[in-house]
């Protein structure tokens, strides 16, 4: 409880957000900017060279995740926020993956029914 009391007191003292806000070297932004360009070029090349199958899907998803991660972590400064905010914002979208799984099952079922009853011709 003593610990809780001290953190409470510290919290009260630190309620004002830093006056100067987020300050990071310009170089960091330029490096991330460069990487975003490179990763976008790679994504485009995946299509340009007609890569197919699992290689295509995994590369597209990899470049997409890297780009999204760089934007959120550095450009949106999530890497420097406190974990309480990071978890509150980044965990809920992860749960959308459950929704994705549900809709994959649903779409497979719909496709099966359509092929079974609409494309099979008479009878």
């Amino acid at each position: 409880m003593a610990h809780a009391a001290t953190t409470g007191a510290q919290a009260a003292a630190g309620t004002a957000a830093p006056a100067e806000g987020q300050q990071h070297p310009i170089k960091l932004y330029l490096v991330v900017w460069g990487w975003l360009f490179v990763l976008s070029a790679f994504s485009y090349l995946v299509d340009y060279f007609h890569l197919q199958g699992y290689l295509r899907w995994s590369l597209i998803l990899l470049f997409m995740s890297l780009k999204a991660g760089l934007i959120v972590a550095v450009f949106m400064h999530m890497a420097w926020e406190r974990l309480a905010l990071t978890y509150a914002i980044l965990l809920p979208p992860v749960l959308v993956l459950v929704f994705v799984a549900l809709m994959v099952l649903e779409a497979d079922y719909t496709l099966f029914m359509r092929e079974r009853f609409f494309d099979a011709g008479p009878g």
């Binding site: 953190t7 409470g8 994504s43 999204a68 809709m103």
Partner: protein, 241 residues
């Protein structure tokens, strides 16, 4: 002013510990849970979270109709190809739009940085450059829409295959384009305030009677980077898939 100003050294003294214990302490504490973020920044993040769900639902419904249709899906690589100087380039318009939007994100990040250095001219100019990139993006999207509509793409039919292609395309890119347009307007309003020196003289900020400060540049930036972020997903899942 030096490039690195360790403002976070001060946070380490005034803020409670980090890690999992810090999360519990922040969330169970009195008055405010987000101790390092101002109310404006926290509210923008929560708005962006809700917007994430909206775009998530659009992309999910696109996935569902694409997986469940028995008709072949039109090949985006060919649909969005252009002839430039006699060369057939697949998906080139979308690639250029992607680079335009990423460039705008870079200039926005620099604007935020110069804002916190209280360099109002550079901040305003970089925000205007960002807005110009955004307007270019919307212009290219208008070109893309007119081209597709001219070729006979409608929300209910298209010449190449599954009808759901048109409805998904217009819904997703239309909603994203609207976000970019709103972002451009938002950028212009804030850039004007920065240019006039409102945040140096302590005039009221945007939608508030409190003293304005350069943090609004970062909050505008959060919205703008989010628009770029959504495009990353649309580019990968709609155009490349």
């Amino acid at each position: 002013m030096p490039d690195t100003t360790p403002t976070h050294a001060r946070d380490a003294i005034t803020l409670p510990a980090g890690g999992a214990g810090g999360v519990v302490a922040d969330w169970s504490s009195d008055q405010r849970a987000f101790k390092s973020a101002s109310w404006g920044k926290a509210m923008m993040w929560i708005f962006l979270l809700s917007d994430t769900f909206i775009f998530g639902c659009f992309l999910l419904s696109y996935m569902t109709v694409r997986m469940s249709t028995t008709e072949p899906w039109p090949n985006p690589s060919e649909v969005f190809a252009l002839e430039i100087g006699g060369t057939h380039l697949p998906l080139i318009l979308i690639a250029i739009m992607t680079f335009v939007l990423i460039s705008s994100s870079g200039t926005m990040a620099m604007a935020v940085n110069y804002g916190y250095r209280r360099d109002r001219v550079k901040t305003a100019v970089l925000m205007l450059v960002t807005a110009a990139f955004g307007a270019t993006f919307v212009g290219m999207q208008a070109f893309e829409w007119s081209k597709l509509i001219h070729e006979g793409v409608r929300p209910w039919e298209n010449p190449w295959g599954a009808a759901q292609f048109g409805s998904s395309f217009f819904m997703i890119t239309g909603f994203h384009g609207t976000h970019v347009t709103i972002g451009v307007i938002f950028l212009l309003i804030i850039a004007r305030k920065v240019w006039r020196g409102d945040f140096d003289q302590g005039k009221p900020g945007f939608f508030t009677s409190r003293k304005g400060c350069y943090e609004i540049v970062e909050i505008t930036g959060l919205y703008w980077h989010f628009v770029d972020l959504v495009w990353v997903f649309i580019f990968a899942l709609f155009y490349l898939w």
